[in-house]
Amino acid sequence: MVVIQRVVKATTRKGKKVLIKKEPQVNEGPKRALFLQGRRSSDKLRRLTKDLFDIKKPDAQLLNKKNDITVFEDATPVERFCRKFETPLFVMSSHSKKRPDNLVIGRMYNYSLLDMIELHVENIECMREFACQKIVLGTKPSLVFNGPTWEETEELKHLKSLFIDIFHREEVESVRLQGLEHTISFTATPEGKILIRSFNVLMKKSGTRVPRLELEEMGPRIDLTLRRSKLPSEDLMKEALRKPKELKVTKKKNISVDGLGTTHGRIHVGKQEIQKIQTRKMKGLKKTPEEIKMKRAAKRSADNNNVNKIKKQKLG
């Protein structure tokens, strides 16, 4: 449903800048996440929310108050929050007798709900319980997905996409080799559980250029089970995945790189009229008048011969 919004006009330059920032852009920065509560929250969920918020900082917003929201029935309050705080991702925690320790992860497209998945938090161990060196805020983590089931069901496929969306921060073109300090692993067990583990990556010396890795568990240890889900419609997802033309890489034609690394190019030269090429005049090679006469005579006799041949063929 399209909600017609009153056209907001800015009166100050600062206000105008804010509005321009909210407009759709070709290159989008990191997606912000909103952490909010439902009708009631449990101790487990509170610790989990705090930890996820710490990981997602600074691209995150934490709301502390309880809200009377049931996402699967009516998602409009969440949409409104996401519009206000400019957060396309949201993580809502709620605790009820029917659905204890409930976590809903979802994302928006153009301020309206795209998809969301409900998870049951079975077990959580906070970052505080692991005694190890923590990572710098804002590092881009490497993500590991274990288990064949990630590709088997639609729900898990979408969940994988969601996890990548939340944790990968932003799309980068290059990464500092020494900066791969954090890794988060998502394991989908055959019985349907999802185990999230977070490690601090230590690079040790190895004989080769590539370092040897040692993992040290640092982050929250989360065990989840799938509950309900609301998957996006095909065309909405297609619309959301559409890439702008500016980002499409146009391949340069007629340029190739061979095995050794040298670049080869092909130039297409048009048809050349060799007779009409303007070359240097060499006075010494110029034909004398006698030579021209001789050439003309030779040509005439040759033509006559040809005509005789054709006559003979016709007669014969």
């Binding site: 407009e23 759709p24 852009q25 070709v26 989008e28 997606k31 396309p88 994302r107 928006m108 497209y109 153009n110 795209l114 881009k140 983590p141 490497s142 993500l143 590991v144 997905f145 274990n146 288990g147 064949p148 590709e151 994988k160 996409s161 990548i164 969306d165 990968h168 799309e171 073109e173 290059s174 990464v175 500092r176 080799l177 020494q178 791969l180 890794t183 692993s185 394991t187 067990t189 055959p190 019985e191 185990l195 583990r197 490690f199 010396k205 190895s206 004989g207 590539v210 370092p211 040897r212 890795l213 040692e214 993992l215 568990e217 240890r221 619309e239 959301a240 559409r242 890439k243 702008p244």
Partner: protein, 298 residues
């Protein structure tokens, strides 16, 4: 616990380091720094107490494989830092907002495109003659600010009692208004493509139509000095003949009403007559003739 070996020991040289090769079939999405391990996870490992250790080992292998492939990417050196150039991400991640639409070119942009005028970047600072320093070209404390002039030289023919300082302010206000107007014209996306002549004709026709749209059909409208004369339209007025007429003149009103009544009754009886004529049942000629005469009488 399942024994997990990080590949075979290839180094022929007596290396004291643990090898870093991983011989596993994994899928990579280096654009997102992601590695996908499709190999089957043994349930038994997860049920035992060594579950966390198993997971740690599994992840160590996979991350090592990922690091191996990242180190294999082309690198560039920027500001004494070695950067690996990542390829395009494979896993599609949806955008948060739709792709921005290209707004139509403004009047100036169209003109510049036609003429081939290219934008030239101007420097922010300009030399200020008054202070002899470099000051911003526009904005707060700008160079060559006309409004800060404490003395304005008037040309010979100028009126000495004219407010020259006020004029500068008025001109600025005029420029701001003009700019706003032009911005508004650019913002409205309707670009009228009709040629001037057609626009004029359309406007003229609209004027005529609006004039006629009053109850008096434009008879009492205030006319402009140079407005062309428009042919006066006359309203259709219903003329009612008198009901109380002398016998001689009675015909007109009566005949009109009779004709109407005939039509109405005929429209009721026509389908019945049609039905009788077309029906398979025979109808007495007498009844039929009665019906027809009834209509005729009336």
């Amino acid at each position: 616990m399942v024994a997990l070996l990080t590949g075979s020991v290839l180094n022929t040289s007596t290396s004291k380091y643990i090898p870093t090769e991983v011989h596993k079939e994994l899928k990579f999405d280096l654009g997102n720094l992601a590695v996908f391990d499709d190999s089957h996870i043994d349930e038994d490992n997860l049920k035992t107490d060594n579950r966390e250790l198993y997971l740690k080992e599994l992840n160590k292998e996979n991350v090592q494989a990922l690091i191996n492939s990242i180190w294999g990417l082309p690198t560039i050196r920027k500001d004494e830092v070695l950067l690996a150039q990542l390829p395009e991400p494979i896993t599609p991640v949806p955008r948060e907002k739709p792709v921005p639409e290209k707004r139509p070119p403004t009047k100036w942009e169209r003109f510049a495109q036609l003429k081939g005028i290219k934008k030239r970047k101007k420097s922010r600072l300009v030399f200020d003659d008054v202070t002899g320093t470099y000051k911003p070209r526009w904005g707060h404390q700008r160079a060559n600010d006309q409004s800060k002039d404490w003395l304005i030289e008037l040309p010979k023919q100028a009126d000495p009692y004219m407010d020259a300082f006020g004029e500068i302010k008025e001109n600025k206000k005029g420029r701001i208004l003009k700019n706003k107007k032009q911005q508004n014209n650019n913002n409205t996306n309707t670009i009228d493509v009709r040629p001037q002549a057609l626009k004029k004709k359309a406007l003229e026709r609209e004027i005529v139509l609006t004039k006629k749209s009053t109850a008096s059909l434009g008879r009492f409208d205030q006319k402009l000095k140079e407005e062309p004369k428009i042919k006066q339209a006359h309203a259709k007025k219903n003329k009612f003949a008198s009901n109380i007429e002398p016998k001689k003149a009675r015909g007109k009103e009566q005949s009109i009403n009779k004709a109407i009544l005939k039509k109405v009754i005929a429209s009721i009886y026509r389908p019945i007559v049609k039905h009788i004529i077309t029906s398979p049942f025979r109808c007495s000629a007498g009844a039929l003739s009665l019906l027809i005469t009834k209509v005729e009488l009336v």
